[in-house]
Symmetry: C2
């Protein structure tokens, strides 16, 4: 099914309305649309339709121009995490085989280390070329792949989740029906745009026809100032960001801020209570890359009465809790959270596609209370969420095991007052090595947020008879050791 | 494509929120959902899936229960205009061949005169049966026919426009993106529910999860009171209703009323200016049955600056003006308004279906200004819109010609300060007959609003060489005669 390009249509509807505010500039819908058309024309000259293009860039206005340009050139975007190492990026590039890599000028060294044979163009070069007239926006095919977002895989290898234009569209509509839409809405994007949480703000802005205020990174002082001075009404945050915002300033948040959409993993009850006391309209959400961001979200008017719940599934998403025996769980019974609907990714790169009527098994554990409110108990059985970033223990374990001195490795997430969780490792060594050397080795292979803060040397790891790591037992032991 | 039943999902999300307020009762979303399930179960016992069911009823809560029940029983609804004569209804029943006719108790005589062999059940009997447990809501198939709405045809015979569930869904979403959605929204329905303008309010209420306040008929005093006491934020009206509301009370409208959605034909500029002066947030819209209601609508914040415009097409509707030579019109150039998109009817009963990429030619004349705002110049070349009802001259002419005394007949719409337009006829007689007799004859064949208020006897009608009525000439002559 095809619909008109949403940015082009909103530009026709509201040409003079601000669309993107950031880096000291204000772009109207007409200007952003024209920019996207020019970038699309430029891309079309160097990349064939149907190809993929990787984007390694910070939260710059030009990032948004590329996001809106790629469907016009019939290209699929592969946003890359700027915090990854060259080795991690190289894997994603080999897996997604982009025809071009668009790179922020100050990430060029990293990109060249990762790129192998992939041609590189800088974001600045691609988006400031003014020689090409804008490409007219063709209709958007809702079934066409729009984005490929890498998520940490349970096997330790990231997987590229394919998101169609329709996944993004339906997600934006579901969020709209839940959060409402006011004439003065302005959404602040401080989450990285390479994550679905940030990317989806750009798409919602274009679909709703509202301004997105873009910050290059999260700086609590700048965010506090923007909330007031830029008349922000909605902001998407992860827990650690909200904590820092509260810490730097006890003053109340401005009253026009009607929704703090809080995602990215577990939220301490005390933080929610603190926000309730201070009248901060926190709305918890449960989402993931494979669901094109939010899958379940509290309604804003329930935010202060349902502390700790991630709400109910957004229209038209279906949500089920499946017990280990494959039954639909009773209220209060914990099981695996399963999702279905037009917002859910049709599958991963290189894996067989999911049928539309097939349930997507998130691997996350949760339950529904008697009134149908979702409570997320544990993000997948072993997932570590640190500062809103997903980290799979298996990926860190694989790196530790690749060191010649290490014979066994087990990684768990331990609670961290600032980051939510932090990775901690236990290793069995076959040769002597220091903690510092092992951490330095990890740092050369892994993004900084994945590097274990503590590595404990042990004689053996708790394992099942079959040799499988008893991760819960290891976590309990490591946690007890810290006290 | 299938999505969960919207009423069922909103009932799961907000069970205790009011969904329908009217006839002295308040139904929550859970109650309305349960009621719809019970009506669906009852319908399933007496009508086979795939059949059609006609509904001849006033604006009662039970009407809403039937609207939400029919998709659950896999039935297509044919809402019938309660103002039609038995002969007019009989045509629509023969054309749509419903398996059942659901009838308001005080319309039973009319229904029996029209029904021929179609079985009849009263609305009360169908919707108050409590013996059947509610039918669980199956998913909504967006491609399945949901409603058949009869529109006056240019040939003088009404045509049944098929509207799919998807047509209604996408229309609700397009309106949502344009009008926004507030937590306290309440939509007042005073338009007849058998018209798309009223019906679409019921569907939007269920899709958005907001209360619909239902009035059985338009009574300006009750509407003024409801606007204040029921905290109405949006009301859909036609011109004559708005004029009466202004006339009965000079007091300002309550400030929580954020949108008066004004559709159903031409709006006098003086009325718009009067509303602008009084700060009434009038938003003009251009819609029709075949577009599942609104196709283009002003944005609320432009309502007072773009007087007379019907705004821009709603997402994701496309709109084009086509000149008589088949070209896309230049800005300011008048042509036929053509529409395309997922809100547009796939076709009429008994006619070949329209392809999704095919433009729907509305027959209405209009132009886009240099900024893309739509101005509707004339609803189809010969359509008369009186009090929000569409009347085709050809239908009245056919009745006049069926009288043995009449040899030729021409009908036009003349401006009317109260109703927008009113039908006026000119006839050539072969035998003597009085105006009163001819009007009485029309009244026996046509709904009251279609009956010409004035019939003028003439020796001949202005015709082209080919014998075709020169309708513009007749209109000018009849209008000059009135002065």
């Amino acid at each position: 099914m095809q619909i008109p390009d949403w940015l082009a249509q909103q530009a026709a509807r509201h040409p003079h309305r601000p669309a993107l505010i950031g880096a000291g500039m204000i772009l109207t819908f007409a200007e952003l649309d024209r920019w996207a058309g020019m970038v699309a024309a430029h891309l079309q000259q160097i990349v064939s339709p149907g190809a993929r293009v990787a984007l390694l860039a910070r939260n710059r206005p030009a990032f948004a121009a590329v996001v809106h340009a790629v469907p016009r050139a019939r290209i699929t975007l592969v946003p890359l995490n700027t915090r990854l190492t060259a080795a991690e990026l190289a894997f994603q590039l080999r897996d997604s085989t982009p025809a071009l890599m668009i790179v922020d000028h100050d990430l060029l060294t990293l990109a060249r280390d990762a790129a192998d044979n992939c041609p590189i163009v800088t974001l600045e070069e691609l988006t400031t070329s003014t020689t090409t007239p804008p490409l007219p926006a063709p209709p958007v095919d809702l079934d066409a792949p729009h984005t490929i977002i890498y998520t940490s895989g349970t096997t330790g290898r990231p997987k590229g989740a394919i998101l169609t234009a329709g996944n993004h569209w339906w997600n934006a509509i579901g969020s709209l029906i839940n959060l409402g839409l006011h004439d003065d809405d302005r959404w602040l994007a401080v989450l990285p745009l390479f994550h679905v949480g940030g990317l989806s703000i750009l798409l919602r802005g274009a679909i709703y026809g509202i301004p997105v205020v873009l910050h290059e990174r999260f700086d609590p002082t700048l965010v506090r100032r923007a909330l007031s001075e830029q008349q922000i009404t909605i902001v998407s945050l992860v827990t650690v960001m909200l904590q820092r915002l509260l810490a730097i300033d006890p003053a109340p948040f401005p009253s026009h801020l009607r929704c703090v959409l809080l995602g990215g993993g577990p939220v301490p009850q005390t933080l929610l209570e603190q926000c309730a006391e201070r009248g901060i309209p926190v709305t918890q959400t449960y989402g993931m890359s494979e669901a094109a961001s939010q899958a379940a979200t509290l309604a804003p008017n329930e935010a202060l009465q349902r502390l700790g719940s991630a709400g109910k599934p957004l229209l038209p998403v279906e949500l089920r809790i499946i017990t280990p025996s494959g039954q639909i769980a009773a209220p209060g019974e914990i099981g695996e959270i399963c999702l279905r609907g037009p917002t859910i990714s049709p599958g991963y790169l290189g894996s067989p596609p999911r049928r539309p009527d097939e349930w997507f098994h998130t691997g996350d554990l949760g339950y529904l209370d008697s009134e149908g409110y979702l409570y997320v108990v544990d993000r997948r059985s072993d997932l570590i969420i640190t500062g809103g970033e997903n980290v799979y223990p298996a990926e860190i374990e694989a790196v530790l095991l690749s060191h010649p001195a290490v014979s066994e490795a087990g990684v768990v997430g331990l609670p961290d007052p600032e980051w939510g969780q932090r990775p901690v490792a236990a290793v069995v060594c076959r040769q002597p090595i220091t903690t510092d050397d092992l951490i330095a080795y990890c740092r050369s292979q892994l993004a900084g947020y994945k590097v274990p803060r503590i590595i404990v040397f042990v004689d053996e790891l708790p394992r099942t008879a079959a040799g499988k790591l008893r991760r819960y037992e290891l976590r309990a032991w490591l946690q007890a050791r810290e006290r």
